[in-house]
Symmetry: C2
Subunit: 367 residues, 2 copies
Amino acid sequence: MLVNGSPFRTIWLDDDGRRVRIIDQTRLPHEFVVRTLATVGDACVAIRDMQVRGAPLIGATAAYGMCLAAHGDPSDAALDSAVDALLATRPTAANLRWALDRMRTALDDVAQDDRIACAYALAAQICDEDVEACRTIGVHGDSVLRDLASRKNTPLNILTHCNAGWLATVDWGTALAPIYHAHDAGITLHVWVDETRPRNQGAALTAWELAAHGVPHTVIVDNAGGHLMQHGHVDVCITGTDRTTATGDVCNKIGTYLKALAAHDNGIPFYVAAPSSSIDWAIRDGLRDVPIEERDGCEVSRITGCAADGATTTVQLTPAGCPTANPAFDVTPARLVTGLITERGLCDATEAGLAALFPEHVVGTGA
Amino acid sequence: MLVNGSPFRTIWLDDDGRRVRIIDQTRLPHEFVVRTLATVGDACVAIRDMQVRGAPLIGATAAYGMCLAAHGDPSDAALDSAVDALLATRPTAANLRWALDRMRTALDDVAQDDRIACAYALAAQICDEDVEACRTIGVHGDSVLRDLASRKNTPLNILTHCNAGWLATVDWGTALAPIYHAHDAGITLHVWVDETRPRNQGAALTAWELAAHGVPHTVIVDNAGGHLMQHGHVDVCITGTDRTTATGDVCNKIGTYLKALAAHDNGIPFYVAAPSSSIDWAIRDGLRDVPIEERDGCEVSRITGCAADGATTTVQLTPAGCPTANPAFDVTPARLVTGLITERGLCDATEAGLAALFPEHVVGTGA
């Protein structure tokens, strides 16, 4: 998407055709810094230190990390060692393993002399596939937004939680892709951005990318969305999903469930942008079967921002030694989800809805 | 309640019988600072700068401000000027006007020579009445907690939002009064404390006062409560109320509604500690008729805490110039409220429930 009028992806090949460039997301929203990754070690640091984050972007960065490794030494031993190093950066990121498996398998099949070219081609393909999946989610979601917008004269008010924008992917994003499509097509809209404590991805990243692309938006605390819905200031909610069950339950950033409850209580449609890569076909009961990551409590007791002198500064919010708990995700039951927006189109958040779009995953159909 | 083993109120008379002492709540939770108010000007600063906050405590401080004014000059002109100065500190605080009207009317009735003694006696009475109302709410709420605790072996888990503790009143608090009673009586309990963005009264004040009194607690982000309820980690919710309608709707800190929705969705009782002073008998539809204060957006875009060097520091969380909105309260419809805990006892959050406890307020009964 656009940054001050210029199109960007979150990761791209340098003009030298070898090195890799990324936007350092740890510096957002206060600074726009582009970093160059020259070695697989640089790629490990970028993933581990969350200069890149979001499942699709982590996968893409790992793929390019394998390119950089192959450039240094295309031997089996070196590639295996690179896989190990990259895997260790964010052990629970599913896309990381998926991208590395795909790269390693492909490189296994070619002679060492051809591995560098093969790696760069496949990494580019992984990126392009992600862009295309997100773009298509945007097209399908755009039709939902146009339909809602056609029924009112004022701007369409959309609420989103966390960051499921282009910064979390290679381009377009998931939940924000329909918004970018509709905005670019001239639909008048406005986005309510939940700040999304504790890590404030909404206030820091969603607000930044919407501003950079020129989409009208307003940041609110996570407490405010219910009140806005009660008073008719929200027309539709769209969030992303970290994991979607075969029955349509949605595991997403902590607090998503509360917004889905409020949307339901106020008759407001609640859509989830769910790329097929987020669907876990083996799980049927999100509340029972999705383990919820408990993150470090210091994310609750402290927060980092930009002090008056411009320095990145962390401040303590709670009394010293105060106990904190920090569950990172929650599960929104399918009954609260109006629809899932996938790259194959819209469906009900039900087993039947998902099965109709993805018949190859239905057990017993012989696929 | 206790601070490191010593009993405190939030406001008390100095040993000299003239000056007034308060806990400077702007310094909490990082420092415990007691300030002395020697003049009505000091009282104005304490209220305006939120060294004292919470409706009952603001009223009590204003009452003592009138004592300090009378001590300086008990003439009608001086007292009128003191009323004007105190009223201007927090124009929308209902308890401020109520306390000042009560003080001014009482002092009108006595000779100038007797006004100082009369003022101190009435200010003490206003404080004692508040303590007794909160204590009684605690007794009634305690019976609810005991009943719930008797049905389980593990600690009773209570979730609260914002600060409706003794720091918001003269002692005991409203929502926290039942918790202090039950804890002091030996009921094993644990409190989930919503941090309560944007002003973080939960993380800063509720956590501090529970720790100071020795009540087990854990601070969570406002997004986390729904997840905890889904997984059986919350047995009951108790919040305060800024304004309660005659039909039982509750206007309280922004985000209360979201927790009430989650409690309802999970079959968890949701109680509101509602002193009769919070009830607006003229209003029947909270969503339609309670105006919601929109506060400065910088409360959303910035946050203040304690930096590593110990300095109180404000950091920017959003991109520079980012639009923000900051509604300060929301309305929880009575249908989501299990019961109201008043100083006269428990009642349903309905017109009939409130009328049975407060028949003198029912129109047409000739009261």
